[in-house]
């Protein structure tokens, strides 16, 4: 195992360009799980934790929120301004693991890990976030919606680092997030959904119901057309083309599909 501990972003990007490509590590709350079970012979880690000066800042301006790649859940929870401007960020942050995870886990790490069960990703995607990627070759911005191309597959190139996440400030008519897990805290999402309706329209983003966190576009267009639903089953029928839930040791496909449609039904009918 190898470890690189750069002090500047410049050095970090240079190291990312080396072969074999190192694995970036931020809070380590994904990478360190059951650490001693993981083979490490070929592992090279690039520690981002000393880049606080360049990557830790949260910047809230009149039209955007920018989260540096080292922004933790706790940073958001502890900032009244950010929590007020983007309530779903704070709400999701409070439901990630427990306090001890929230103090270490980063939003960028949540995106980088690419778990279909990630809780940070749905709210970011519902807020129409952009991921800022940087390498020695330059900097580019990609929509978070479109960032994933398959299970744990993304458009990020091996030498690129996520350096920031940008979220546009818009007026919103509706926004909510619901996470369903096996217990009150410290629980991997069985099914979750973030919904935002803003000037650009509806965005419905579900997690744990497909190989990656995804928008439910058929449902979004139904909502766009002003469709009202008489039962959860109606929503379920529409969702059939949006999601592809599976059975695993945490839950069943039937559960995920049914519960997602029920949660959406009662929320959209404003009964929850």
């Amino acid at each position: 195992m190898q470890v690189h501990r750069p002090y500047t972003l410049h050095d970090a990007l240079a190291l990312m360009a080396a072969t074999p490509t190192p694995t970036p590590i931020a809070g380590g709350t994904d990478l360190l799980v059951s650490w001693h079970h993981k083979p490490k012979e070929k592992l090279a880690l690039l520690d981002l934790s000393q880049l606080g000066g360049e990557l830790a800042a949260m910047r809230l301006t009149a039209d955007t929120l920018e989260l540096g790649a080292l922004t933790t859940y706790w940073d958001v929870i502890a900032s009244p301004e950010v929590s007020r401007a983007f309530p779903l960020l704070a709400e999701a942050a409070r439901q990630v693991g427990a306090m001890q995870i929230q103090t270490r886990g980063t939003w960028a790490g949540n995106i980088g890990n690419g778990s279909p069960a990630a809780d940070g990703v749905p709210v970011l995607m519902a807020y129409d976030a952009t991921v800022v990627l940087q390498s020695t070759r330059g900097r580019r911005e990609v929509q978070l919606d479109g960032y994933y191309t398959g299970y744990k597959k993304t458009v990020r190139l091996p030498d690129e680092l996520i350096v920031a996440i940008q979220i546009p400030r818009r007026t919103r008519k509706a926004e909510w997030f619901e996470k369903v897990g096996a217990r009150a805290a410290q629980t991997i999402t069985k099914v979750g959904v973030a919904v935002v309706n803003d000037e650009k329209g509806w965005r419905v983003v579900a997690n744990s119901v497909a190989p990656y966190v995804c928008r439910c576009r058929n449902l979004e267009s139904a909502l766009q057309k002003g469709q009202k639903f008489k039962s959860p089953e109606e929503i379920r029928d529409i969702l059939k083309n949006d999601i592809a839930p599976i059975n695993d040791m945490r839950s069943t496909a039937a559960y995920r599909e049914t519960v997602l449609s029920r949660v959406l039904f009662y929320r959209l009918a404003d009964k929850a």
Binding site: M1, I25, T29, V33, W35, Q100, I101, T103, R104
Partner: protein, 156 residues
């Protein structure tokens, strides 16, 4: 496995040990720095038995690579003030003691940031410390007592 010299401030004292590159903070505290008070309950970040304060912030030490602790301040259960121990022992906060070091560190963090309790509630706050013995009531009672004693101390 490669090794490196790790220097950190443990419970107020600067110390250096030669440790494995792939060690977790939990491992080096227990097996290299001679501080076995911090416990491993799961090694997955789930149970909170390994909680310590890292530069004053509550973290699970099984999820912190040791190299990230270089040059930083670590507080562990071993530095808990005696009066807090007395308070917690009277309320049944510990039974088998395996989750206890983590529970104590969570309580210590909350005592430093009592405002967190107001925003999330005590039970939600303690949800990252899994305990199989107490059913949590003894832990919550300890936390309440400790908060009260703290508030009293602040008044006087």
């Amino acid at each position: 496995m490669d090794k490196f010299d790790l220097s950190l401030t443990l419970n107020g004292k600067s110390e250096t040990r030669r440790v494995a590159l792939d060690a977790r903070l939990l491992d080096v505290l227990r097996y290299d720095f001679g501080s076995p008070g911090t416990k491993e309950g799961c090694g997955e970040g789930e149970c909170g038995a390994c909680c310590v304060l890292l530069d004053g912030v509550l973290v699970n030490s099984c999820l912190v690579p040791a190299f990230q602790a270089a040059g930083r301040r670590i507080e562990t259960v071993e530095s808990t003030p005696p009066d807090l121990l007395q308070t917690l022992n009277a309320t049944g906060t510990s039974q088998c003691g395996a989750c206890t070091p983590g529970v104590v560190m969570s309580i210590r963090w909350l005592l430093q940031h009592p405002e967190i309790a107001e925003s999330v509630g005590l039970r939600a706050f303690m949800s990252g410390n899994l305990c199989r013995c107490t059913g949590y009531d003894g832990i919550i009672a300890g936390l309440e007592q400790a908060l009260q004693s703290n508030a009293k101390k602040a008044e006087t």
